[in-house]
Symmetry: C2
Subunit: 127 residues, 2 copies
Amino acid sequence: MKDRKHSRKREAILDVLRSTKTHPSAEWVYAQLKPSYPDLSLGTVYRNLSLFREDGQIICVGTVNGQERFDANTKPHAHFICDRCGEVIDMEGRLCFDPGDAASGFFAGSIDYCEVTFHGKCLKCME
Amino acid sequence: MKDRKHSRKREAILDVLRSTKTHPSAEWVYAQLKPSYPDLSLGTVYRNLSLFREDGQIICVGTVNGQERFDANTKPHAHFICDRCGEVIDMEGRLCFDPGDAASGFFAGSIDYCEVTFHGKCLKCME
DNA sequence: ATAAAAACAGTAATAATTCTTATTATTGTT
DNA sequence: AACAATAATAAGAATTATTACTGTTTTTAT
């Protein structure tokens, strides 16, 4: 990881991500922090999320309704996205295979990681 | 599938999608057709891609560099995305498991489908 | 042929994200 | 503690993919 100057806001952004399981968007992180950091700027959230991703401290889960969603849990794990309400749910531990292993050896490029995303309706949205 | 009036342009858009393995963006489809249909509008491409998706004739592969990518091959199959050049490559037939099966029974919501996407560098980008 | 409905082009609007610039915070050095 | 050097920031402008609107054209059923 490149070494960076310390920044209270960057730290706070990462803390928010680490203290939730909701796989938030940039906007949501911003809304969470704005009360405690009234001079926080949305651009700062976006910029730091990019840095975290570069440094491998967070991963992108995918875009839901046009917004990228982030996850501070960098261990490989699958996600479920509810196509009705947009909620993103961890499926950690529910898969008994490593899709990366399953494909390497068959593919000529180099595989860095693999995303497994289930789509459907969450329990709440099934009524 | 809802019944729709016939449209020469809609037909052409689907033909383009069906005759390529490149998993194109809306913009790319538009660029392909513009020479033969000089009065084609980008909005028409977007609108019809949405209709195709509603009708289950195409699927969304995910966003690459901010642009959604589409695929007329609706059979479940995995993809590889090169994070350097953005190329999307089919991994059809290379997975020996059905991730949907692997997860149902463990999850309380209803699973419609499952996306498996590998990330890395394609052969060309590895030099 | 004609009338109703759907599809269209062209353009304006929207919305997520990135970029720019002037200011402020951090860090190492006296 | 004062100091530069430089990274980080706020605010807002700019960019860009996508969607919505409006008046016109195409399709299709009568």
